[in-house]
Assembly symmetry: C2
Homo-oligomer: 704 residues x 2
């Protein structure tokens, strides 16, 4: 299918927006994506049930040192196909995932330069993905990218839930505003971080959730970010056109490409039902199948840890105050005095192991176990940790043996301080140490500015590193939970030992400065689109003064909602983040955390509105148990739940952990009720969530 310019001009004459040469629609016909070359520029548009989602938008890349891949294109060929399969994730929200799309593969030529570029569209019932493909060819082998110019032209001044575009942090609170208000609100949307680099007053991050005035939910993100830099969106707020804005390297180059290659998928999800945004598997489906033959060693994890004592409690990762400047090469901690505020000590960790064993947790995370924390941070220090040497008061041998004797594992912690060359140099030894002592999961961290200096957290260099850490870990059968790494884009389908990421404001910010009460009603629409988040819920004591007199922190959530997060924030890795003392005070509520599953056969989103509320129901893996969670924003939420997902006619006991009537996230967060009810698939439950509140329900069959 080859169109001459004359022919195109004639076609274009027929429509103000252009007449498109090629079209593909979703299997259900609701979504249509059109493509054409308009005056030499690749152009697409997208609609949903006849409503515009993406107005005509151009595609292309600006290169460094050679002619851009922006214009002078001609269509060579368009191929259509359909794909439908059902696959089983190693872990997930559902035991089976259907991957059903229609594809339009557009082959383009740039005749003046003898070059070729293709664009592949895949259209699902809930959205579409497009990516650039660069076949091997004579006049395009290696090229540095100055910028990718993928446009997403919005059809109106939508409402968006956004965080500031930044090359180095995603740890911002979400702002809800019109697109036209982003510029004015940008300053107030930014808080300080150990490493941060904004680039534009209208720059935002993906996944970006929007809602149109006529009730369409639109989400822009990317899938399968491999060996490329992470995409942000920059808004032309006169025309409401978003354009891709890649993360640069130390020299300002945005990507290095070697043909044959392709970009990650650029995704647009759309529905008139907010729940479809949450239920979508589009991002996972656009990723490659699992790369590992044996995945038997990958297992969801529920864990506690030596962490909140430091984050919220003011204790230290470090061991001593005697070392203003640490050089690991010639360091002898035995000559230093412990400051006594180091919870990663043998006795305390043993206490956590006992707690984990008693309550059925799989693992105990211990942060601050290894030498170097005395000056780990903010100094552009290269050799900051060796990842293998424990502090003198952490008996690594004994503690692992003790944990194993109780059916528990320790979870490893590798803070890199952003010094990535150093981490890679020590990685093999670090993973070997884990093998030796029986660790099978590591929480890694990338706090602070990156080394190699000038590189950014979300650039191609680091994205390559994060995946390297995951694939190297796989050789040791180790699962990875990387904090401060790039936001996930569904790679956990291909590399399912990537069991978690942070990549957003987690619970720790409740101790630092507080998240907005609506935070957990937004995250599943945005951050969680790409993969699970190690959100670390389960905080029972909201007044941080209670564990640290110097703290002004407050957890902007009711206790009941803390339980709900184990259901609403899907993750195969769930922490009970509070200290054992606080759980001991509320053992009846803690029962829910003990009961709740971390892997699922089925998930349903019952009610959802970004920034307002999310209600999810999930059926535990291999069990007839269901768990329901509701998280609500500032206004609270009233639910009228139909339990029609239960087996017909079967009787269940529902245990409902709900906000008490006078509960409020600010001044009465620990007011909750626990109610037991017999329910069936015909039951309806009317439940109320307080402001910043929620509820959690466990539903178990009575006939077992």
């Amino acid at each position: 299918m080859k169109f001459s310019y004359v022919c195109m001009a004639l076609l274009l004459a027929g429509s103000a927006r252009g007449t498109f040469a090629a079209e593909v629609s979703s299997p259900d016909g609701n979504i249509k994506v059109n493509f054409s070359v308009v005056e030499g520029r690749p152009t697409y548009e997208m609609s949903y049930k006849g409503k515009p989602v993406i107005l005509p938008s151009t595609l292309g890349l600006e290169l460094i040192g050679s002619t851009d891949l922006m214009d002078k294109f001609e269509e060579k060929n368009v191929t259509y196909s359909e794909f439908d399969e059902t696959w089983q994730p190693v872990w997930g929200e559902n035991k089976e995932i259907r991957n059903h799309y229609r594809e339009m593969f557009v082959e383009l030529a740039q005749p003046p330069h003898g070059r070729f570029m293709n664009i592949r569209f895949r259209v699902y019932d809930d959205g579409m993905g497009l990516r650039y493909e660069f076949p091997q060819q004579q006049y395009l082998d290696y090229f540095p990218v100055r910028e990718e110019h993928t446009q997403f032209a919005m059809a109106g001044d939508h409402t968006a839930w956004w965080i500031a575009g930044d090359y180095d942090t995603q740890e911002y609170d979400y702002t809800e505003s019109r697109l036209s208000e982003i510029r004015g609100l940008m300053k107030s949307a930014i808080c300080s971080n150990a490493s941060q680099t904004q680039f534009s007053p209208t720059g935002v991050q993906t996944s970006l959730q929007m809602k149109t005035d006529d009730g369409l939910y639109i989400n822009i993100h990317e899938a399968a970010l491999v060996n490329y830099s992470c995409m942000h969106l920059n808004l032309d707020d006169k025309n409401m056109v978003f354009e891709s804005w890649l993360t640069p390297d130390a020299q300002g180059v945005k990507a290095y490409v070697q043909t044959p290659d392709h970009t990650p998928w650029r995704t647009v999800m759309v529905s008139d039902d907010a729940r479809d945004m949450l239920a979508s598997n589009l991002i996972l489906n656009l990723n490659e199948p699992c790369a590992y033959e044996d995945t038997s060693w990958i297992k969801p994890v529920k864990y506690v840890g030596v962490w909140w004592e430091m984050i919220g409690g003011g204790k230290q990762w470090s061991y001593t105050y005697d070392l203003p400047s640490v050089k690991l090469d010639n360091l002898d901690y035995s000559k230093t005095k412990c400051h006594g505020e180091h919870p990663a000590n043998t006795e305390n960790v043993k206490r956590y192991i006992d707690f984990a064993a008693e309550h059925g947790f799989d693992q105990v995370l211990v942060e601050g176990w290894n030498v170097g924390w005395e000056d780990w941070f903010g100094k552009s220090k290269d050799y900051v940790f060796d990842f293998v040497t424990p502090y003198p008061d952490f008996d690594i041998d004994y503690l692992n043996e003790y944990a194993h004797s109780k059916g528990v594992r320790l979870m490893m912690h590798h803070e890199t301080s952003g010094s990535v060359r150093n981490y890679e140099r020590h990685m093999e030894a670090a993973y070997n140490l884990m093998d030796k002592y029986g660790y099978n999961a590591v929480k890694s961290g990338y706090v602070g500015n990156m080394i190699p200096r000038g590189e950014h957290h979300y650039g191609q260099w680091l994205n390559n590193h994060y995946l390297y850490a995951v694939t190297e870990a796989a050789k040791h059968k180790i699962m990875v939970n990387a904090h401060e790494a790039v936001r996930p884009t569904g790679l956990c389908r291909t590399y399912p030992n990537l069991i978690g990421n942070e990549s957003a404001r987690g619970t720790e910010y409740e101790a630092f400065a507080g998240n907005k009460p609506s935070h957990t009603t937004v995250l599943p629409f945005t951050r969680l689109q790409g993969g699970p988040m190690d959100y670390t819920p389960g905080i029972f004591e909201m007044d941080m003064k209670k564990i640290n007199p110097n703290s002004a922190g407050h957890v902007n959530s009711t206790l009941a909602r803390q339980l709900a997060l184990y259901v609403t924030m899907y993750s195969p890795l769930q922490m009970a983040a509070d200290i054992p003392e606080n759980y001991n005070r509320f053992m009846d509520a803690f029962q829910f955390i003990k009961d709740v599953a971390v892997d699922w056969d089925e998930s349903r989103y019952l009610e959802a509105e970004p920034g307002q509320y999310i209600v999810a129901a999930r059926k535990a893996k291999g069990k007839d148990e269901w768990y329901v969670g509701c998280t609500a924003g500032e206004k609270g939420h009233t639910s009228d739940l139909k339990l029609d997902f239960l087996d017909k006619g079967r009787k269940y006991e529902a245990v409902i952990y709900a906000d008490a009537k006078d509960a409020h996230y600010l001044d009465n967060p620990q007011a909750y009720t626990i109610t037991r009810k017999t329910v069936t698939d015909k039951s309806r439950l009317k439940l109320a969530a307080a402001p910043g509140g929620g509820y959690a329900i466990s539903i178990k069959p009575l006939d077992l």
Copy 2:
């Protein structure tokens, strides 16, 4: 010893150049170094036999983000000491080295900022070293350096042998000129290189050899370059003041320092006898003692290799022309056709092994043995080599077995293409492969721009890497010969498995474009000050057309001088670089290369003048044999050699390989004579070197 400003002012009044508060002289008293704080600035000067070497010059560092370490200093204390020891190098020009110096340790305070910096001077009979030391302190823990401002004020418009300052290459021909002429000659002093970054029209590299009008030889370099960036010199050519100019990183930062720390030594060698420059051990002495307990596995190496066929002969490192773009991840060479110009094949390598075995060489280097060479270069490619996978026509198993059966080893080759993260990721596997097959030496290479992109070959990041490669190799008992790495600064004392470096124009440039005939009369004064060079001499066919019809290359040397280089260019690693066919044509001359030692008990420099000639005599390690070499520049050289270094009264046979009378490097380079003579310690030899010529002598006792 604390001077107030008032006191200093009074003292300064007494002298135009200032009166110095502290002084230290060399053990023989010829060199004096004075130090004082002048108007708050650390200042030193240096003289030799009463003649000025360094006029008053200031010391200091400009920092980023905090107050400079430039001024407002006060002297706190000065400590004097003397040190005298004799140590044994693992390999070297002499079996014993005396390290005898007087030290002046100046402790400075910067009272307005509560900070401390010390300067340590060590003065030898043949020069001095100074370095900055930064003790651990409250107000100076980590600091980035904008520039180090160490001045070297010259006392006149000296003659210098210099190459252009460059962050990425040292492969320039030397220019001989007055200091004042550098600016005008800079453009013509620069030739193209795969990676190069000049910084100033008066920027030059160290080691910089100079000569004053009154006959002093002065050399500026650095010693013990560890975890810091490499120093260049920038000339203020109005005042003839050199100042240190460090190599920046990707962000323009010149060094990152964590206290306690110190800079490398900045060295100034001086003598009125050029031979003292060559005989000096000052650079080695300023390095730390050997870091390894066991050094029994480190052995000098004489080798041949599959290399000149490509460099001079136009053959290929690559295997096929079928792959315009190589991705190692999914590559199958078995589907490609070998282009037939790949000398690293089993049959040809076997031929080199046979040749090495027949003529007593230790090793056979093979370049182009491993996959990836089809697009290795100039593309900023990250994953360019895996360092473990041989080409299909290189039977690594068989060839190593075959070599070992003949008492020969293969030498490994690791070209990194400057992609250093990739090399570090594969390093352990690469060294393990070497262990498996019995390789114990690797030639590594860093051709092209560096990755991490924006980093330079001589910056702190890469200097850290080069040393990492050496110390990791030591864990495998592997010796390293790194090409395109930073110029050596005596680190081979501490890490003697660093048996070679390139770091200058080697013989390969004879094939590319030719080195000046004087090149090898300069290198021992400059490049070799820091450590041995893998110069790869021994070219017998000077007309490159003879092995490659497409070549216009010519080796600017006579054949006799090629023999001499094995003596004049000291190295424990010596290649016979030409192809076996060319050696077979001149077996009588080749005998010298077979005979000459690669490790020595004693070395003497008999005659020397930079740019003109060098005559060296060396006594073979553990033997009573002496080898003499002479290399001469454009004018040739006539020697009158006293053999008084021979054992008194003993008779020796001298075999003299000399230029024939009509020899000339340009049009008659292969005209040589071989003469046998009986000599004693009373003998005098009158010998003539042709233009670009030289001679070589082996002297063996007749009474054995």
